[in-house]
Amino acid sequence: MADVNRGNRPLSPHLTIYRPQMTSMSSIFVRVTGNGLIVGAVLVVWWLLAAATSAEAYAVADAVITSVIGKIVMILSLWALWYHLLGGLRHLYWDTTGRGLDVAVAERLGIYMIIGSLGLTVVTVLLI
């Protein structure tokens, strides 16, 4: 067998050595936003459960969610939701068409994700 030492090779330095790039950072933020959205999900489910329980329970949940800190969390979650959605759209485009994977296009799509998510967040806040 040619590769007896296969399980004992040096690993690449990975995250610690590369300077941040549009491709890596836009991808990392898809992970961060996706997993961070659990906070918003818990708040929304709590709000719903409170509404289904009683007017008093709802008043507490609604006061928390519409407080200053609550609003900050909800607006951050809203941005995270739009950013993650656009990141997912880019991923589906890559996966289902096999296109857009060269660095120039991937970087441009990353910039669209940032601008698009911020724009959609502002539009949503203005509309709601």
Binding site: V4, L48, A55, I65, L85
Partner: protein, 123 residues
């Protein structure tokens, strides 16, 4: 180690465990959420800060109730698969297994709680 064949060494690692099922589940739930999430934002959003009677009334209607129920269930299935990938990247051994089990429980728990609330509001 050196007596193992290449085939034997690959068995049980990476996608050899479950093939492309995980990837396919993520693709399907992503497409579903692409439609559900914008509709969810604009049906749920206006209700934040509304008074209790209005909220009860609103989720008594079929469309907002169905959007809420579907978004919660599909989002939680998507989350449990997604968080699993993150756990697999940063932890190993028993910690990895326990964290995955914990997050599956959290996902199903939130989905059940959300569904219960929607059904109770709607009926």
């Amino acid at each position: 180690m050196r007596y193992l064949t290449d085939r034997k060494r690959a068995t049980g690692l990476g996608s050899a465990k479950g093939g492309t099922t995980h990837f396919w589940n993520m693709t399907v739930s992503s497409f579903a959420l692409l439609v559900l999430v914008p509709v969810f934002i604009f049906t749920f959003g206006p209700m934040l800060g509304a008074d209790h009677a209005a909220v009860v009334d609103y989720f008594g209607r079929p469309f907002p109730a169905l959007v809420m129920a579907l978004t919660i269930v599909v989002a939680m299935l998507h989350f449990s698969k997604g968080v699993q990938v993150m756990i697999e990247d940063y932890s190993g051994g028993a910690t990895r297994k326990l964290l995955i089990i914990l997050m599956i429980c959290v996902s199903y728990g939130l989905a059940a709680a959300g569904l219960f609330a929607v059904v109770r509001l709607a009926l």
